[in-house]
């Protein structure tokens, strides 16, 4: 009898644990416990923040050392290329400053919203997600700095993603390359609309819903559309067209988009204090 009890106990434990896990998944999935789960998650982020910073401070210079040693040659040529580009851009910046002033005045007169007028909170990227099934980053600021769930995040040059968890001292940003991310985009002189979907870390975005007759060229810039109920404000650059083509028999073009922001090497970002209009 003792033997039977011994051999059935592990199975009973397994049954209880599996039922518990399935219950948690079900409750979380139906959204009943969103507030509870989010607050536990944000507490975990806060509790883990000091440990993560400490380990990161020790590990980062070591990683950078090996990275630098391995890529010394390419860094030199990159440096030269960046110098050339810098001087070219400085000229361009001077030229566009004038146009920018005129544009801002025009917007003010017409009372139109524009992404560049939204106040931002600068933040440092402290970690990438350790998960293989999502593309996200963690910032070193949270609710205490005025960051909240749903806020768009940009780097100097373009859209990065949006805040999905905001704890007191940390926030998690879901990148536009995450497979669950969809962004409404506008492009071309006619202001055509489409949707850019994430395809995972390091992969370009896939642009859906462009009819075959709409002209799209390699290098075209696509920006957020900011239509009603959009989760992003209008006019934030997302990426440039990488490839185009119409698959035979398809009702839409196959277009891919390279994000403007270097999502694999983000160091500093700006969180836009903007909430989607509901």
């Amino acid at each position: 009898m003792a033997l039977t009890r011994r051999s059935t106990r592990p199975r009973f434990t397994l049954l209880v644990l599996v039922l518990a896990a399935v219950t948690i998944i079900t409750i979380a999935y139906r959204g009943h416990a969103d507030s509870v789960i989010n607050s536990v998650k944000s507490d975990a982020l806060d509790a883990f923040a000091p440990v993560q910073s400490a380990v990161g401070d020790v590990a980062r210079p070591i990683g950078n050392f090996f990275d630098g040693a391995a890529h010394y040659g390419s860094l030199q040529s990159e440096n030269a290329r960046l110098r050339a580009e810098n001087s070219r851009l400085q000229t361009q910046a001077l030229q566009s400053a004038d146009a920018q002033t005129a544009f801002q005045n025009l917007l003010k007169t017409l009372n139109l919203p524009w992404a560049q007028n939204i106040p931002t909170v600068p933040a440092e990227v402290v970690a990438n997600s350790a998960s293989n099934f999502e593309s996200s980053i963690q910032l070193n600021k949270g609710r205490d700095a005025g960051i909240d769930t749903g806020m768009p995040v940009v780097s100097g040059s373009g859209l990065v993603g949006r805040v999905v968890v905001a704890s007191r001292t940390r926030s998690t940003v879901l990148l536009i390359t995450d497979p669950t991310s969809n962004v409404g985009v506008r492009f071309g002189p006619a202001g055509n609309l489409a949707v850019a979907a994430g395809q995972g870390h390091g992969a370009p975005l896939r642009v859906d819903l462009i009819p075959p007759q709409v002209p799209v060229n390699k290098g075209d810039l696509m920006s957020t559309s900011g239509l009603q109920q959009s989760i992003y404000p209008p006019g934030v650059p997302i990426g440039t067209v990488l490839t185009t083509g119409v698959p035979r028999g398809s009702f839409q073009q196959a277009v891919t988009l390279a994000p403007v922001a270097d999502l694999g090497r983000l160091q500093f970002v700006a969180v836009m204090q903007w909430a989607p209009k509901s």
């Binding site: 592990p10 644990l17 896990a21 979380a28 999935y29 998650k41 998960s131 293989n132 099934f133 999905v164």
Partner: protein
Amino acid sequence: MSALLRGRVVLLVAVVLTAQEALMAGLRIRGAHPDLMLLLPIAFGLVAGAERGAAMGFVAGLLADLFVGTPFGLSALVFTLVGFAVGMGEGDRLGGGWWVTPLTATVASAAGVLLYAGLGAAVGEGQMLHEHLATITIVVAVVNGLLAPPTVRLARWAMDLGRSSSWSTPVRSPMR
């Protein structure tokens, strides 16, 4: 379990969690992160049997779930099943060679990743079955295979099961 042993287990879990979230997050091998949390139920299944393997899987899984956006509780479910399955497998029947621990960890990790993506797709996250799944599976399985012997040794220390002659040989669980 005495307070000391409980403290050791908590310490081991904390160290592995820190290593995963602070170090592995920055490490990509062919675009995929290793998954050290999955090693915990495997190691405890090997040294302490199915029941403790499953219990460790549940705890480690819930902790892992706190830091990701995939359905909450999914890692807990998968890790529980992996810990139990490893504990049920009679590792020492295979002759107890040095390769038993790494091989078990490799196979169990691969199965764990595929089960995770499959169940994720089943609960509506179809994007989890993406084209890099094969790479992810191989990276997680190989890294866990390599790290399994030291982790098993730590698990044995945490459970105070003493050192066996060869530290990769599974010790007979007290349950059998």
